[in-house]
């Protein structure tokens, strides 16, 4: 066990956990004031559901012994993190008291499990952006648990469970030599494809394309984007699973790709719409971070700049797709995470350099088409699996317990219907709210009576 590595992965896990509340702000600011609480609750709901189920069986599905063909791990092997919490008591030679008995690499297996759990949380939360304003909260929680179990954990097994990392035999994509350092397939393509499927199942918001649906609080969006970027250093550099040179390269690439992507997005906006917007800057940063997620260990910093610049421009262009095709991916999970994730995953086949820790050359560095082919295969496989299973899950929930809220409730605002709250009370009159039993009693003011009425009527 390495204490430096362990300290870094523990800190990274906390950074990644903060990404989900950060996402809640990012998404929450983008919806209308009447549904901001529900938007944020979908992220907090993901924290709660996945935080439990990941420990109970999610981690084991992702990192347990492979059951069949690199597709899924044994859900019972580490159920409840069983057998992983042992600590040396100082009597074993070579092991200090307090050292974990079970390691993944140089860090305690439980630290690794916790770190991976925070990825599962934020990935589930990302999907919610596609179904803003219109999903029943209870159905969302059920979806979150099922989706983590049937989609996220298996796909994490495919890409993240390297042979010998935890189990002897791991996932099929990792075994093929696909480079996905921190989750271009597992997190980004996966959530983006699922978002598209759910947007299709739930249908468009009432008034989509006709009524204005302006973001109600852009400072919240920018704060959220800032917290996401901050947390992303744990996401990417933490995925080195050590405080080392690999983490360093991932860290610097995470910084520059986010930065150039801001430029890429704003450039497209300036040319297309005439202005560089704050929402564009926030979205651009996220698009670049999405794209560099799988690639941050495989590029040199200039390559990461190119990757980010293209990601920003590409995603800025892609957000128009929903209007062209008429699906209501409300907060652009497809435009940013699916498109950015596809670009980042595939671009490794073009821009990777063997100088970087991943040690592979892409097409532009003389590596031929080999890596590009593997990256394409991984992208298509995860896209297809996630879309199909999510579509089936969404339809099942819609037909059984019901996923979409009633149109009247949607018009009134989902916050007051699903959560019995309103986000903002800015009026000095308190919006006319009063406590039960506070109706006027024993007042000395004249009361309107029928007799009084007849007296004043001429």
């Amino acid at each position: 066990m390495d204490t430096g590595d362990t300290a870094w992965v523990l800190a990274s896990a906390a950074l990644v956990l903060l990404m989900t509340p950060g996402l809640a702000l990012f998404y929450g600011g983008m919806v209308r004031a009447k549904s901001v609480l529900n938007m944020m609750m979908m992220s907090f709901g993901a924290l709660a559901v996945v935080g439990v189920l990941w420990v109970l069986w999610g981690y084991s599905i992702a990192f347990g012994d492979d059951l069949v063909g690199g597709l899924v791990g044994d859900p019972l092997q580490f159920a409840g993190l069983n057998g992983l919490i042992g600590v040396h008591d100082g009597t074993t030679p070579g092991h200090a008291a307090g050292e974990a008995e079970h390691l993944v690499g140089t860090v305690p297996a439980v630290v690794f499990a916790g770190f991976q759990g925070t990825f599962a949380m934020v990935t589930v939360a990302l999907v919610s952006g596609a179904i803003a304003d219109r999903a029943r909260f209870g159905a969302w929680l059920v979806f979150a648990g099922l989706w983590m179990t049937l989609v996220y954990a298996p796909v994490a097994h495919w890409s993240f469970a390297f042979d010998g990392l935890v189990a002897e035999e791991g996932g099929w994509l990792a075994g093929l030599g696909v480079v996905d350092f921190a989750g271009g397939t597992v997190v980004e393509i996966n959530s983006g494809a699922a978002g598209l499927a759910l947007a299709l199942v739930l249908g468009r918001r009432l008034g989509f394309g006709r009524d204005p649906m302006r973001p109600h609080n852009l400072p919240l969006v920018m704060l959220g984007a800032g917290l996401l970027w901050f947390g992303w250093f744990g996401f990417n550099a933490g995925s080195a699973l050590g405080a080392n040179g690999v983490a360093a390269v991932a860290w610097i690439n995470t910084m520059v790709a986010g930065a150039t992507a801001v430029f890429g997005w704003l450039l497209v906006e300036r040319l297309r719409d005439g202005h560089a917007t704050s929402l564009g800057a926030a979205s651009g940063a996220v698009a670049g971070l999405v794209a560099v997620t799988p690639a941050c260990s495989a590029l040199n910093p200039v390559g990461a700049m190119v990757l980010g610049l293209v990601a920003g421009a590409l995603c800025a262009a892609a957000i128009g797709l929903k209007h062209r095709f008429g699906y209501d991916d409300s907060l652009d999970v497809v435009g940013v995470h699916l498109v950015g994730g596809l670009w980042g995953t595939i671009a490794i086949g073009l821009l990777a350099t063997a100088d970087a820790p991943a040690g592979v050359d892409g097409l532009l560095f003389g590596g031929g088409f080999g890596q590009l082919g593997k990256q394409l295969l991984a992208a298509v496989a995860v896209l297809g699996y996630s879309f199909v299973v999510t579509l089936a899950l969404g339809l099942l929930l819609e037909k059984t317990i019901g996923f979409r809220i009633h149109p009247d409730d949607e018009l009134a605002g989902i916050d007051q219907v699903e959560h019995a709250e309103t986000a903002y009370d800015l009026a000095t009159t308190g919006a006319g709210a009063r406590m039960p039993g506070s109706r006027p009693a024993g007042t000395t003011s004249p009361t309107r009576t029928p007799t009084h009425d007849t007296e004043v009527t001429p």
Partner: protein, 112 residues
């Protein structure tokens, strides 16, 4: 008595207030308002989706005055709020039947 209501550009509020104080008006009620007349709003763009925002922010100033003062007060407001550009606003008056000062219960001109 008359109620003078003025809807003016927000950045002219200080000028209107100073001019009314100089004229001798003792108080006023100010509220934020939005709307449009001949002046129309502006365009906003969010992730490429364009919105026209027609309602322009304004402030509404309300002053209760004696009948005799009303024409002067209107003129004071118009002069102080005028920029000569479209969107300067409107001023109008309506008759008021009675006014009561809540603290003392005084009625009519005494309550002004």
């Amino acid at each position: 008595m008359r109620l003078v209501t003025a809807v003016v550009k927000p950045h002219k509020l200080d000028d209107v207030r100073n001019a009314l104080e100089a004229y001798g008006v003792q108080g006023m009620t100010v509220s934020e308002a939005s709307g449009y007349g001949r002046q129309r709003g502006h365009t906003e763009v969010y992730r490429g989706a364009e919105y026209t925002v027609d309602m322009v922010p304004k402030v509404r100033v309300e002053v209760l005055v004696e009948d005799l003062d009303a024409p002067d007060v209107v003129e004071v407001v118009v002069k102080s709020a005028q920029t000569g550009r479209i969107g300067d606003g409107k001023v109008w008056t309506v008759p008021v039947e009675d006014v009561v000062r809540v603290r003392t219960g005084e009625h009519g001109a005494d309550a002004l």
